[in-house]
């Protein structure tokens, strides 16, 4: 009679032990890779004004995070709220400059909205006209790009596909999927991992930034004559064994700039690269060691300058390849991003709940000084 009992008992005890032995204490969290693209918080300088994107409000989990767009019209030093109305911005906002100082904003998908409404302004955000991208924009600050000359747009999607529109944002067509790019000769050379940014070259060629699986390769792809070519900046031999990711691509005037992350963990560093011929030749900056911090925002400024903020409240800016990265004063708490100042230097946009504080620092300043406070009427619970 005890036969049916014994095996069951042993099995039960063994199961208990196996289950218990399988349980472990939680592992220490792995350090965040600096190769991840920065947040959507960024700025954009156009001929008619300077724009900045930052997230405000409450927690994303309860859908109380609302991305806001601010503008400081040219010739003024005052920022104001300019978030396009009519769509919930919980998923994020992506910006790009159009011709004549117009600006295009794209809403990233959130909750049950799977595609990206667009909005264009010609008057510094006083009025917006709607547009449509029937797909979801990727969660990178460079997901939208425009060629001011032709009016064509590029959109990097959540799927890794890139779409291109006709003039004025009409008739979107697929330019390339991530898989197709990876399968191309250029993609194979790079061992494409992810597509992270898009831009047009000054001459109107589509450019894509990417993370490469092959160490030492910077993934900037140029679409020329119906073929994708790997035109990324050649990196020095010191980076030959390091993971390389292109984090941002921006074209301003006649110059395309790329922000590149090399290495991981405490050895990671940032490099800026500039090209004026669509990526055929690049000039590389000196490296900016991250010292274990992660990149939190990257902001292109006028004349192909670039400013970055790091997770340890450090910030740095670079204006040209000949000069080094210049350390900025320790950024104020809550700084979401930097934006070019009205008279040189940089503004730091710091968020605390529904309040945006603008801090300014002149080029050689040792500290930030408070310049303006913008209170934003966030509608808590409106997206829940």
């Amino acid at each position: 009679m005890n036969r049916p009992i014994w095996p069951a008992s042993l099995l039960l005890a063994a199961t208990m032990l196996a289950a218990g032995c399988g349980s472990t204490v939680s592992r220490a969290a792995a350090p965040a890779s600096p190769a991840a693209p920065p947040s959507l918080a960024t700025s954009l300088a156009t001929t008619t004004g300077t724009w900045a994107v930052a997230v405000m409000g409450g927690s994303a989990a309860s859908h109380n995070n609302f991305w806001q767009l601010f503008v400081r019209p040219a010739g003024t030093s005052t920022w104001r709220l300019a978030t396009p109305p009519g769509v919930a911005s919980n998923g994020g906002l992506v910006l790009t400059g159009l011709a004549s100082g117009s600006v295009l904003a794209g809403f990233r998908p959130s909750q049950d909205l799977a595609y990206s409404p667009l909005a264009t302004t010609k008057n510094d955000g006083k009025a917006w006209s709607p547009g449509l991208l029937d797909a979801g924009l990727a969660d990178v600050p460079g997901a939208l790009a425009a060629d001011p000359a032709s009016g064509r747009l590029l959109a990097l999607l959540t799927t890794g596909t890139t779409e291109m529109s006709g003039p004025g944002g009409t008739t979107w067509t697929r330019l390339v999927t991530r898989r197709a790019l990876a399968a191309s000769a250029a993609g194979t050379r790079c061992q494409l991992d992810s597509v992270t940014a898009d831009a047009f070259s000054p001459s109107g060629q589509p450019l894509l930034g990417a993370g490469c699986g092959r160490p030492g390769i910077a993934g900037v792809f140029s679409y020329t004559d119906g073929r994708w070519q790997l035109t990324g900046p050649a990196l020095p031999a010191a980076y030959a064994h390091q993971a390389i990711t292109v984090l941002r691509l921006t074209t301003t005037g006649h110059s395309t700039s790329a922000l590149v992350a090399a290495g991981t963990s405490s050895a990671a560093r940032l490099l800026a690269a500039w090209s004026t011929d669509g990526g055929r030749h690049w000039t590389l900056s000196s490296p900016l060691p991250l010292g274990g911090a992660t990149l939190t925002s990257a902001s292109p400024g006028p004349d192909a300058s670039l400013a970055v903020t790091l997770s340890n409240r450090r910030a740095a800016a670079i204006t040209s390849p000949v000069g080094p990265w210049r350390q900025l004063p320790t950024i104020p708490p809550g700084t979401a991003t930097l934006a070019p100042g009205p008279t040189g230097g940089w503004n730091a946009l710091a968020v605390r709940g529904t309040q945006l504080t603008i801090w300014k620092a002149a080029t050689s300043a040792q500290a930030w000084t408070s310049a303006q406070i913008v209170k934003v009427p966030v509608q808590f619970g409106s997206s829940g």
């Binding site: 009679m1 005890n2 009992i5 014994w6 069951a8 008992s9 042993l10 039960l12 005890a13 063994a14 199961t15 208990m16 032990l17 289950a19 218990g20 032995c21 399988g22 349980s23 472990t24 204490v25 405000m56 859908h63 609302f66 991305w67 806001q68 709220l81 978030t83 109305p85 009519g86 769509v87 919930a88 911005s89 919980n90 998923g91 906002l93 809403f107 959130s110 909750q111 049950d112 909205l113 799977a114 595609y115 409404p117 917006w128 709607p130 449509l132 029937d134 934003v376 009427p377 966030v378 509608q379 409106s382 997206s383 829940g384």
Partner: protein, 611 residues
């Protein structure tokens, strides 16, 4: 998995109470009718008379039930009844998936969550029927076990206990959490209901096995091996049980008990558990050492099967179980939604039962041979004379068993019927949206453009029932859910959908062009829904329709979507507005979406009937 509705929702709580009261009345009627029938039959067919009809194969006097079996049968019968009563807590209908099943499965592997998720979703689709079925099935099994001491009915009761226990152990307790980290006997591993199953299996054993002392030895040995395994697990390093309070961080046991002490319960109980937590924080190592040593020693004693060792071990184990039940498990059913008194009482019952089976003297083994009614085959048993004899000689226990079976059927039948429908109970939608407001006035005419660019007027829909709502095509939350509910309602209407038109009007003054209605339709897979119309027009046209139907489409600042009410109107075939439904989708779970679809489809059917 869960419906997402507040566990205290007054609509659901009231409906659950009403369902229980109604079914309780039916349960009383079952027992009353059975009792009446029993008395009547006994009056008409006296046992003596019936006995004269007895032929070969008549039932002999049953064997005396051994004390270990009696203990298990009555003990676990009472536990099932108590568990059934706990299932009748008002919050249980909505709360079981969200507050019991989901937390239990949260730390288990994915495959466990998939299995448990299926059960949780099933429950959340039919919370009334599921909640009530758990009450009556468990009370029924309990009464069945209590009332049935002998024969096949008694063994079947054990089998029913084991079978239902398996359902509860898998789906309600996520396999007792044995695949989750942090497993410990102190807190209920391997799941209380697994012990119910073991006990049920023992009760279901044939009568010829009742009196063999090997049975008790086997039960104790099995329990001993299990306890030894639990001792090893308890001693395993890195699981936090050796730690009391270190650098302000509570060890695993102190963390568990302190959270238990914070659950709603009588103050003195909380203070007992709190005191134990303080003691464990100060002497965590010693507490765990004591636990490991005692579990191992008791386990070893049980495995030996020697009476002189087993007796003190059973006493020690019972004391340990009671102490654990009070100080660590906190009685198991206080706070949150307790479904049973946890594992310590079942463990103690099993150990004592095993001991009694071991030590019962051979002298008490009474008349084992006379218990065999084997001579009576099933053909003999169903002869009218045999049936008459059985009925006439039935005891009050038999009536109770029949009543218990009635209770089980009372619980299981409605749940089985509900399961036959893939759609959720509309009570969920009513709980979110409130009751439907009946109306009767002429619908205001409109003329707009559909998603294909065709002009559509309300007049052109004359002769059809129109479910009319207002949706923002770039809305991120409610509107997509409402659209899915409309699509599901269309599917539910089936052949009737040719007489029903599902109509939405754009509720966004900025993003209102046809490109958005088309993108929205693609997003919500409405392009293949033939009776779906998503209408738009110029802003003045839309504003007129909004005004006529009491809709305010408000542009809100700072990244908010358009504010507008979630409303649907039911317009009958004659163009009369028959009802207004609040379509705020609430949590938007699969259960609530299905429930809203049923509500909308029912509203359309009602309008079709009334036209």
């Amino acid at each position: 998995m869960n419906s997402g509705i507040n566990v205290n929702d007054p609509t659901v709580v009231a409906a659950f109470k009403t369902a229980l009261v109604h079914q309780g009345i039916i349960a009383l009627l079952i027992f009353a009718l059975l009792g009446f029938a029993w008395i009547t039959v006994r009056a008409w067919l006296p046992a003596a008379q019936a006995g004269t009809a007895a032929g070969p194969g008549s039932l002999s006097a049953p064997a005396a039930e051994p004390s270990w079996r009696q203990l298990l049968r009555i003990g676990f019968g009472l536990l099932w009844v108590f568990d059934g009563i706990l299932q009748a807590q008002p919050k249980m209908a909505i709360g079981l998936p969200s507050q019991v099943i989901e937390p239990a499965a949260a730390s288990s592997p994915h495959w466990v969550q998939v299995v448990v998720n299926w059960a949780g979703t099933t429950w959340s689709y039919h919370p009334m029927q599921a909640g009530a079925s758990a009450v009556w099935i468990q009370v029924g099994i309990g009464i069945w076990m209590l009332a049935s001491a002998h024969g096949p009915a008694s063994r079947l009761a054990g089998l029913a206990s084991a079978s239902w226990g398996l359902v509860v152990w898998v789906f309600g307790e996520s396999f007792g959490g044995i695949f989750a980290p942090g497993l410990t006997w102190l807190f209920g591993a391997p799941g209380a209901v697994l012990i119910y199953m073991v006990a049920g299996g023992l009760i279901a054993l044939p009568e010829r096995t009742w009196h063999a002392p090997r049975l008790g030895r086997a039960v104790l040995a099995g329990l001993g091996v299990f306890l030894a395994g639990m001792a090893v697990l308890q001693a395993w390093p890195g699981r936090g049980f050796w730690q009391g309070l270190s650098h302000g961080q509570q060890g695993t046991l102190a963390g568990m008990t302190s959270s238990m002490a914070q659950t709603p319960q009588p103050g003195f109980l909380a203070s007992w558990v709190g005191a134990f937590t303080t003691f464990d924080e100060a002497h965590g190592f010693a507490v765990n050492l004591f636990t490991v040593v005692v579990l191992a020693a008791i386990g070893a004693a049980f495995v030996t099967g020697q009476r002189r060792l087993v007796r003190p071990a059973v006493i020690a184990f019972t004391v340990l179980c009671l102490a654990d039940w009070v100080l660590i498990e906190d009685f198991g059913f206080f706070g949150g939604l307790g479904t049973d008194p946890n594992s310590m009482l079942p463990f103690a019952l099993l150990a004592v039962g095993g001991y009694l089976a071991l030590v019962q003297a051979p002298a008490t083994v009474a008349e084992p041979a006379t218990a065999e009614p084997a001579a009576a085959g099933w053909r003999e048993r169903i002869r009218p004379a045999s049936v008459r004899r059985s009925v006439a000689t039935a005891s009050i226990r038999s009536v109770a068993v029949a009543g218990a079976l009635g209770l089980i059927i009372l619980g299981a039948a409605p749940m089985a019927a509900a399961q036959a429908s893939p759609n959720a109970d509309p009570i969920l939608a009513e709980a979110i949206a409130g009751s439907t407001a009946p109306l009767n006035f002429a619908a205001k005419p409109f003329q707009l453009t559909d998603q294909h660019g065709r002009t559509v007027s309300l007049a052109s829909l004359h002769g059809k029932v129109v479910l009319l709502t207002f949706l923002d095509p770039v809305c991120t939350s409610d509107c997509p859910l409402i659209a899915q509910e409309f699509r599901a309602a269309g599917q539910l209407l089936g052949v009737s959908d040719r007489k029903v038109e599902l109509v939405a009007v754009v509720a966004n003054p900025i993003y209102h062009q046809i490109a958005y209605t088309q993108a929205f339709d693609r997003q919500e897979r409405l392009t293949q829904t033939s009776n779906w119309l998503y209408l738009t027009g110029s802003v003045p046209q839309l504003q007129q329709v909004w005004k006529d139907y009491g809709i305010a489409a408000q542009i809100l600042p700072a990244g908010s979507m358009i504010g507008h009410p979630d409303i649907a109107y039911v317009i009958d075939q004659a163009g009369q507005v028959r009802a207004e439904l609040n379509t705020d989708p609430g949590p938007g779970t699969v259960a609530t979406k299905s429930s809203f679809a049923v509500l909308l489809a029912n509203a359309a059917r009602t309008a079709l009937r009334s036209s």
